[in-house]
């Protein structure tokens, strides 16, 4: 187990270097960021070359990348164009997005799994059909439509919540955005759980458990659910990374100052330091989430063992 974890962690190093290099090059290809700093006019050439020098843009790309990586390993993610340290931006943005992601995952787990079990056990009944239809609608409608609609209905028409989230982003204000962010994945989780439960409900071990005279709730939670959740856990694990990176749309609609906001701003201003820094951390989150999923397998399925 320990060796397996170490091996997986070591595998992350090349992925990390490759990912940062790719992003670095992509932002670089977008062109020179200095030109956008002076409004609708040319920066005066002297200031322009000073700025270029300060941000290290006057050197060749490979050199810029090496310096950047050198700084990253000493914990310095550089400075954004507005003079703010990228590490400060991260410190303010990641907790917010993490909270939003957790709210979303909680929705996926609770609502998604419950609906999945419910429909899986009542295949073909009205409950099953209507939930299936509902999930189909949710999957078909893009997030920005759900988001704007939810904002309009709950925030403006009914005034149950504030239409935007204040900058401290307390948990209570993140419930609606979290639900919107989770909506599509939630539908997938429901469908995955449903299929899985339906399939396992006919399996031998469930029949045995029922025959033994175990109470129904015990059959479902201990025998049926434990085996049915394996594909769901895989999905949610990979989804954590996707949710954090994909929150750009939701964060924009609800004015949440998280990772999506910083990335969006960074891309518009072609701020290499911000974009590469944030995406690098996202890549790490994604890799760690995947590792965690693999480890949880072993817990769910005793047959799986890592050497």
């Amino acid at each position: 187990m320990g060796r397996y974890v170490i091996r997986r962690l070591l595998q992350m190093i090349p992925v990390f270097i490759g990912a940062t290099l790719l992003i670095f090059l992509m932002v670089h290809v977008m062109g020179d960021p200095i030109a956008g700093l002076c409004g609708e006019r040319q920066c005066d050439p002297a200031t322009e070359s000073r700025l270029r020098q300060e941000f290290g843009l006057d050197r060749p790309v490979w050199q810029q990348y090496m310096t950047y990586m050198g700084h990253v390993f000493s914990g310095d993610f550089g400075t954004a164009f507005n003079g703010q340290k990228v590490i400060e931006l991260m410190a303010s943005a990641f907790p917010v997005t993490l909270r939003l992601t957790l709210v979303a995952v909680a929705f996926e787990l609770v609502v998604g799994v419950v609906l999945g079990v419910l429909t899986g056990l009542r295949r073909g009944r009205p409950v099953d059909t209507s939930v299936l239809l509902l999930t189909l609608v949710v999957i078909a409608v893009p997030t920005f439509v759900t988001g704007l609609l939810a904002q309009l209905v709950f925030g403006v028409t009914w005034r149950i919540v504030q239409p935007s989230v204040s900058y401290t982003a307390p948990l209570g204000e993140l419930i609606l955005p979290g639900l919107v962010l989770a909506s599509v994945s939630l539908a997938y989780v429901t469908r995955l759980t449903r299929t899985s439960v339906a399939e396992n409900a006919r399996s031998d071990y469930v029949r045995t458990a029922v025959a033994k005279g175990l109470p129904r709730h015990r059959v479902i939670t201990r025998h049926l659910l434990r085996n049915s959740l394996i594909p769901v856990v895989t999905f949610i694990g990979t989804d954590i990374g996707a949710l954090m990176g994909g929150a750009i749309v939701t964060e924009r609609i609800f004015n949440i100052h998280g990772v999506g906001f910083q990335l969006y701003q960074g891309i518009l201003r072609q701020n290499t330091q911000t974009v590469v820094g944030f995406v690098t951390v996202l890549v790490i989150v994604f890799l760690l989430a995947n590792l965690l999923v693999d480890l949880v397998y072993a817990v769910l399925d005793p047959r799986i063992r890592y050497a």
Binding site: R41, D44, R50
Partner: protein
């Protein structure tokens, strides 16, 4: 306390869901009257908040609240009037003696003296400080020493500035510039306290100035809380308790917040909402002229556009555009068809001359077709208009302009838009001088003078002369106007220079842009100044 808040919020949302009662969200502070605090939409400033380093409207908004310079612009007429300047004397338009009013302090108690100005200007001009507005000091003698076009600076301070007393200083310009005192209301010319130089990082984290507001707290990228400064000595004291500026990434969210009562003031109503705004806000909507002119510029470094025939083509293109229809349908009256190269906010006395463009700006498809044919047709056979897609709603109007041109020429393929993803990349392409067709150019004035609408844009190698247009006659007239000590003749000379721009159709004027703002019922006396920034200190809270 902090930990408890989310729970109550959640409980509140639940309770409301059950009982359908209202849960007092609303705008931060509940108090009204002279201590009432209002909330306003904001965008994250692009540059550090130093006066000589802020060249966009979001940072400028804050500087306008926390600083007062020698001059200030009247929020209604745009006329420059003395603020901290007791008087600015000159006899030859080159040597100026500035007397600063006595009794002014920064909000930290430090006296505002002549030295506060001179130090600030020296800081703004010096190359090592990377100030993006440094060129505002280019007319001061010695600028080429502290800010050489290439190489290292050879001096620490501008030789043209000299402190002659606690409240007096002299300025020597490198050329005659009669309207120079009127430029001093621009934020770059603000005075700076010692704290700015001694504890620079701390100052940037919480700027200290001498304006009607002081910064109470500033969370970068999220919110700035400004409170009325009780000790403000000026006559334009704040009539409210303060302003909370909140950063929004999407103008639509800010607008939704305004409609639902979560925000008090939005100073840029998104184009998509313009058709609902009057009904949504029951008339609490302002649509006021601002000093912004949208034009199409041309790449004069491309020889095809630099011929006598191309003048006719450009004039023809200008006549092909149905300005009225576009401003009414796409912008719903928040733009006005342009008939000169300045802005109505200057007023007739300031140099605005309605109809100066004449027939060349009137919609006349038949004449347009004839002129373009006479000029040898569009260079390259097809017109591509380059624009950026990340700000404003440029795509809509570029497509509409192309449509106008296509209709006039009876050819569906004679004009297409060429979108560029980001503003930075757009500026890059302009800077590289590789464009072969016209491109979008929006000019927001720095200060309300006709000079600011002409010299930076059309003077040879002007800072915003992106198309590199060059005309000896125009340069001559601008020099003559700048040297004129009589303001009204200077303005007439500028207008003659503007006629050169018209006759050559150096840039096609499209429309004057208005500022638009919507506000909540709990605030009143909301106005936009000619820079399309709300006049915060005049707003009252109910």
């Amino acid at each position: 306390m902090r930990g408890a808040a989310p729970v109550t919020r959640a409980a509140c949302a639940l309770a409301v869901a059950l009982t359908a009662a209202s849960c007092g969200g609303g705008s931060g502070a509940g108090a009204g009257g002279p201590d009432g605090v209002l909330s306003s939409s904001w965008g994250d400033p692009q540059n550090p908040l130093e006066p000589a380093n802020t060249n966009e409207v979001q940072g400028g908004k804050v500087l306008d609240m926390i600083f007062r310079g020698l001059k200030t612009y009247d929020p209604r007429t745009g006329k420059a009037r003395n603020a901290l300047a007791e008087r600015i004397d000159t006899t030859d338009s080159t040597h100026f003696t500035v007397t600063v009013k006595d009794g002014w302090t920064f909000s930290n108690g430090e006296q505002v003296t002549a030295k506060s100005f001179v130090d600030a200007w020296n800081y703004g001009a010096h190359l090592k400080n990377n100030q993006k507005n440094a060129y505002f000091f280019e007319y001061v003698e010695g600028y080429d020493k502290v800010h050489p076009a290439s190489g290292r600076p050879t001096a620490e301070t501008l030789t043209g500035l000299g402190v002659t007393g606690p409240l007096t200083f002299t300025v020597k310009l490198s050329q005659r510039f009669s309207t120079w005192p009127d430029t001093l209301g621009y934020a770059a010319f603000a005075p700076l306290p010692r704290a700015f130089f001694d504890h620079h990082d701390a100052w940037l984290a919480k700027p200290v100035g001498n304006g009607p507001y002081e910064v109470e707290s500033y969370t970068r990228g999220a919110q700035m809380s400004l409170r009325a400064w009780k000790g403000y000595p000026g006559s334009d004291k704040a009539r409210n308790g303060g302003v909370d500026l909140r950063v929004y990434t999407d103008g639509n969210t800010a607008y939704t917040d305004l409609v639902s009562g979560n925000l008090d003031l939005v100073d840029d109503v998104p184009a998509a909402q313009l058709k609902n705004v009057r009904a949504d806000l029951e008339g609490r909507y302002i649509n006021a002229p601002a000093g912004i002119l949208q034009t199409l510029s041309f790449p004069y470094y491309d020889p095809a556009w630099n011929t006598p025939g191309a003048v006719k083509v450009r004039t023809g293109l200008s006549m092909a555009i149905n300005r009225r229809q576009i401003t009414e349908t796409i912008f719903r009256g928040t733009r006005t068809p342009a008939t000169d190269w300045t802005s109505p906010v200057l007023g007739a006395a300031g140099g605005y001359k309605a109809g100066l463009c004449g027939r060349a700006c009137a919609h006349d498809p038949a004449a347009a077709r004839r002129l373009i044919a006479e000029g040898g047709g569009i260079p390259g056979g097809r017109l591509t208009i380059t624009y950026n897609t990340d700000t404003g709603s440029h795509k809509e109007w570029v497509d509409a302009v192309c449509n106008s041109i296509n209709n006039a020429l009876g050819n569906d393929r004679s004009c297409v838009g060429s979108p560029v993803g980001t503003f930075a990349d757009f500026r890059n392409r302009i800077g590289r001088k590789k464009l072969t067709g016209p491109f979008r150019a929006g000019w927001q004035m720095d200060y309300p003078l006709i000079q600011n609408f002409l010299q930076p844009l059309y003077y040879s190698n002007g800072s915003a002369n992106d198309g590199r247009w060059s005309n000896a006659r125009f340069n001559e007239l601008v020099n003559e106007a700048n040297a004129d000590t009589d303001t009204s003749t200077a303005i007439r000379t500028f207008q003659r220079a503007e006629e050169v721009v018209r006759d050559q159709m150096a840039g096609i004027p499209l429309w004057y842009q208005n500022g638009s703002a919507g506000y909540a019922a709990r605030i009143s006396h909301v106005e936009l100044n000619p820079f399309s920034v709300p006049v915060y200190h005049e707003i009252t809270v109910r």
